[in-house]
Symmetry: none
C-alpha cells in the first residue's frame, strides 16, 4: 500500500505540483490568446500534455483554472510596484521601475495580456483586489510621489496619472504587440528595440518630470 500524496509542499506530491504548473502555464497561454470564453480546457489540457479529465482532476472547473492563473500572475504583476523606494533618488527609482515593467512586458507578455483582458471585460473576478490591495498600494505610492513633488525634486503632476502613464506605456508594448509588430516589424524581444523603447519612455517621462536622465551604469 502506497501513500497517496507526499505531504511535503502543502499536501502536493511532486508530480501533482508539476502538473499544476504545467496546467497553469498552458492555461496562461490559452486564456491570454483567446480570452476566457474563447479558451477551451480541451486545448489547455492538450498543451499541458494530459487529458481533459485529468486537468479537471486538478482543478474543478474552467473558472477555477482561470482564477488560479489570474492569481498566479497578480502578484508578479503588482510586486515591482512595491519596490518604488520613497528614500531613493526619483530619477533612478522611476527609471528602474519603467525598466522593470518593460522587462515584464518582454518576458511575460501573456500575463500582461491576460491581465488586460480581465480588466477589459470589467475585471469581474479581481475587483476586490483592485479596490483594496491595489488601491492602497497606489495611495501609498502616490504619497511618495507627492513627497518628491513637495520636496521640489520633480515637477508637479497629479501622482496617479504619472503611475497610470507608466503602466499604460510599458504594458502597451506587450498588449498591443501585434500592432507594434505590424508598424515597426519589431517587438521587445529584440534587445535593440527594447533598449530604444526604454530610452524613449524613460527619457520622455523623466524629462517631463524635470529630471535629467541618469547615465547608464555599466553592468
Amino acid at each position: 500500500m502506497r501513500r497517496r500524496t507526499d505531504k511535503r509542499n502543502g499536501g502536493l506530491s511532486r508530480i501533482q505540483e508539476k502538473n499544476r504548473k504545467r496546467i497553469l502555464d498552458a492555461a496562461l497561454r490559452e486564456f491570454s490568446s483567446f480570452g476566457y470564453s474563447g479558451a477551451t480546457i480541451d486545448r489547455i489540457s492538450h498543451a499541458a500534455g494530459m487529458s481533459k479529465s485529468n486537468l479537471l482532476y486538478y482543478f474543478p472547473s474552467k473558472k477555477a483554472v482561470y482564477a488560479a492563473v489570474l492569481s498566479s500572475i497578480l502578484d508578479a504583476w503588482l510586486n515591482p510596484f512595491r519596490m518604488l523606494d520613497p528614500d531613493g533618488d526619483p530619477a533612478r527609482e522611476i527609471e528602474a521601475y519603467v525598466r522593470e515593467k518593460l522587462n515584464l512586458s518582454a518576458k511575460f507578455p501573456e500575463a500582461s495580456r491576460l491581465f488586460a483582458n480581465e480588466i477589459l471585460q470589467g475585471a469581474p473576478r479581481i475587483t476586490n483586489v483592485l479596490e483594496h490591495d491595489l488601491k492602497d498600494l497606489v495611495a501609498e505610492k502616490c504619497a511618495v510621489i507627492k513627497k518628491w513633488i513637495d520636496a521640489g525634486k520633480i515637477r508637479p503632476i497629479e501622482p496617479v496619472h504619472l503611475i497610470f502613464t507608466i503602466w499604460a506605456t510599458t504594458q502597451h508594448y506587450a498588449d498591443f504587440a501585434p500592432q507594434i509588430r505590424a508598424v515597426t516589424g519589431k517587438d521587445l524581444n529584440d534587445p535593440v528595440f527594447f533598449a530604444e523603447t526604454e530610452r524613449a519612455i524613460s527619457g520622455l517621462i523623466l524629462t517631463g518630470l524635470g529630471l535629467t536622465v541618469p547615465d547608464k551604469v555599466p553592468a
Copy 2:
C-alpha cells in the same frame, strides 16, 4: 410610378438602415464587453430589439456582424491621427491630438475596448489594415515629428515611441477604466477628472519634449 426602396444611402431602405445601425450599436457593446467568443448573437439581437433570426437576415453570420462593427469603428479610430498638421505648432498639434484621443476614449470607450480586444487576440481580422494603412500613416507622421526634431522644435525622441506613448496613455483610460475606477473612483465622464487627466498627460509629454504647455485658449 412606384418606389420600392429608397436608393439613397447605398441601396438601403430606411428601415434597413435603422436596423443595421441598431444591430451595430448593440453588437459594439456586446463584443467590447465579452470579446468575440463571449458575445452571443442572441443577446445582441435582443439588445437591438429584434429576433435572432431577424438579425441574421441583416448579417449572414456572427463573424459578419463582428467584421462590420470593427470596420465601422476603424476609421473613427484612425482618423484623428491624420489631423496632425506638419505645418502647425508642435505643442498645439500634440496637445490637440492628445485631447482628441482622450475625448474618443471618453465618448466611445466601447470602441476602444473592442479595438484593444481585437489586438490582444492577435488582430487576426485587421492585420491587413495595420500592416498597410496604419503602417503608412505612422511612417508619414513619424516624418513630421522627425522634421520637428531636425528643426530643433522639440527634443529628440524616436518618433514611433512618442506616437505609441500617446496612444497607450490616452486609450488606457478607456481600456482600463475598471481599474482606474477602482483606484480613483472616477472615470473620464467626470469633466473634472477628464481635465485633470488631460493636463497631466499633455503636461508630461509636452514637457518631456522640451515644450511649454500652451495656455488654455478660452472657448
Copy 3:
C-alpha cells in the same frame, strides 16, 4: 380597375403561366440535383428569376412545388410505355421503346433523376400512382408480351422482368451519369456514344429474346 387574371387557359394569365413554368423548370433542376431536403426554395426562386416570396405566391409551399414538378414529369415518364403496340412487330416495338426511353434519358436526365430520387426514398408521394395507374399499365403490357411469347414470336421470359430490364438499363444512363462519365468519359449527349449505347442494349435484349436486330431504317 384591372381584372386580376385572364380567364383563358384555366384561370392563369399569360404571365402567371410563364412564371409557373419557370419555377417548375428551376425546381426540377434543383430537386434532381439535391434531393427534396437538399433543395431550397431560395435557390429555386433565384434560378427562376424571382423572389422567394413571389415563388410562394405561385405555390403555397415547398412540398407543393415538389408535387407539381413530380406530376409534371410523371406523364412524360410513363407515356412512351403506352405506345407499345400489341399488333406491331415485337422487334420493332421493343427497339423503338428502348430508343425512346434512352432518348428521354438523354434529353431529360433531370426528370429521370428526380423520379429515381423519389423512388429511392420510398416513393411516399406517388405510391398511389404506382399502385394503380402504373400497375394497370404494366399488367396490360405484360399481356402484350405474353401474347408474343404464346405466339412463339419471342423467347419465353417473365414479362415484368423484361420491362424492368428495359427501364433499368435505359434509365441507368441518366441516373448514373457521373459514374458512366467517370468510367468512359462520355454521356448520352454524345451522339456516337448514344448510338453505341442504343445498339448494345437493343442488341442484347433483342438477341436475348431470340429476335434479330432489325436493319436501321434510314431517316
Copy 4:
C-alpha cells in the same frame, strides 16, 4: 500491470468498436432512406441507441459519419466485380456475377440505395474512387470480355455496356424496390421472386450473348 484499452483492431476499445458499428448501421439506414440532407444525426443517434452528443464523440460531424458509411460499403460494392475470372467459362462467370450482384441487392438494399443516392447527386465525395479505382477495374474487366469476344466465345458487344447492363438490372431491384413492390407485390426477399428474377436476367443476358444458360448445379 494494467491494460487501458485493447490495442487490437486499430487502437479501438471493444466498446468503441461496438458503438462505431452501431452508428454506421443506423447511419446507413438513415442516409439511404432520406439522402444526405434529409438525414439527421439526431435520428441516427437515437436509432443507434445513444445521445446525439455521444455520436459526435465518435464522429466529429455529420459529414464524417456519411463519409465513413460510404467508404464502409464501397468495397463491398465493388468487390464482387473483381471475381470475374478471365479463365473461367463465360456463361458461368457472368451468371455467377449476376447472381452475386442480385444477392447484394437483396441482402443490402440500403447500401445499394446509398450508393445510388450519392451518384444521383453527382458523386461529389467519390468521384476520385470512380475515376481511378473503378475506371481501372472496368478497363481490366472490359479486356476480359473483349478476349471472350475475340475468342468467339460470346457474341460481339461493346464490353462496357454489358457491364452497365448487369449493374443497372441487378441494382434496379434494390433501388426501385418500392416501384417493383407496387407493381408486382413482391421483392427480392421472396425466394421465389428472387429465383424468377435471376433466371429472367441471366437468361436474357446469356442468350443475348449467344450463350446457353448453364444447368443449375444442385447444391
